[in-house]
């Protein structure tokens, strides 16, 4: 359970790094492999996927989904704080609904 929680944090950081990397993306192989945020971001992303598979092997799905939804919360908070993207009520309400939706869908999968 803790592992999944850590995954959501790692996943959000990976998103942020990929975004940062893509903002100065140029379609050139050398530029891509030396794009540190992009490379580190995708490494985190892949590492996170492996961790998640491990976590999913021995865990109750209905408990996992609500935690996975936290990735959306962390990513949005990082967008507001680190990227300086504007926060507004629509976004916050939307994110909250999505998190609940992912959790509800997870509960439905248990049956």
């Amino acid at each position: 359970m803790l592992l999944v929680f850590i995954c959501t944090l790692v996943g959000a950081v990976a998103q942020l790094l990929i975004k940062k990397g893509m903002d100065h993306f140029t379609p050139d192989l050398l530029a891509i492999v030396t794009n540190v945020p992009l490379v580190v971001g995708y490494t985190f992303y892949g590492f996170n996927a492996l961790l998640m598979i491990l976590a999913l092997k021995n865990a109750e799905m209905s408990m996992i989904y609500p935690i996975i939804g936290l990735t959306y919360v962390w990513t949005t908070l990082l967008c507001y704080t680190v990227l300086g993207e504007p926060s507004n009520a629509y976004k916050n309400i939307g994110i909250s609904i999505i998190v609940v939706g992912v959790a509800v869908m997870g509960f439905g999968g248990k049956k």
Binding site: I93, I98, V104, G108
Partner: protein, 136 residues
């Protein structure tokens, strides 16, 4: 086409491709045996290829756009995944799943509304034809 619209379409396409990737991974995973070679089955490889393709669309989509608007759109993949689960694997579409699906769609809609009152960080070419890379 506005840069935001372009980004949203790219992420939308990524979510559709990604959900197909999920379905193929599932089909491939069902074929796994104890042998390590069973990992080299076509379904699994197609699944991985679709995931990579999806992430390419996604990466191009978030470039220059607001991550706080575009990342939540990834959750649409759950919605398509649910449809494929029903069609390809005949998994039951329970009330909870249906409710979750509706909530996710509603949430993405709200996040989309949240993108409206925002000005782009840098002036952009009015035509929208300009490559967004020119901003930085």
């Amino acid at each position: 086409m506005s840069p935001l619209m372009r980004s949203m379409i790219l992420v939308f396409v990524a979510s559709v491709i990604g959900s197909f990737g999920m379905a193929f991974l599932k089909m491939g995973a069902n074929l796994l045996t104890r042998s390590i070679w069973s990992f080299l089955n076509t379904k699994l490889l197609i699944g991985i290829a679709l995931f990579l393709g999806s992430s390419a669309f996604y990466a191009m989509g978030i470039k220059g756009g607001q991550l706080s608007v575009l990342y939540p759109m990834v959750s649409l993949a759950y919605v398509w995944g649910l449809v494929w689960a029903k069609i390809f694997f005949n998994e039951p579409l329970t009330k909870q799943k249906f409710a979750g699906l509706g909530l996710i769609l509603l949430g993405v809609f709200f996040v989309g509304l949240g993108s409206q009152d925002v000005q782009p960080a840098a002036p952009r070419a009015a035509s929208g034809q300009e490559m967004p890379a020119a901003n930085r």
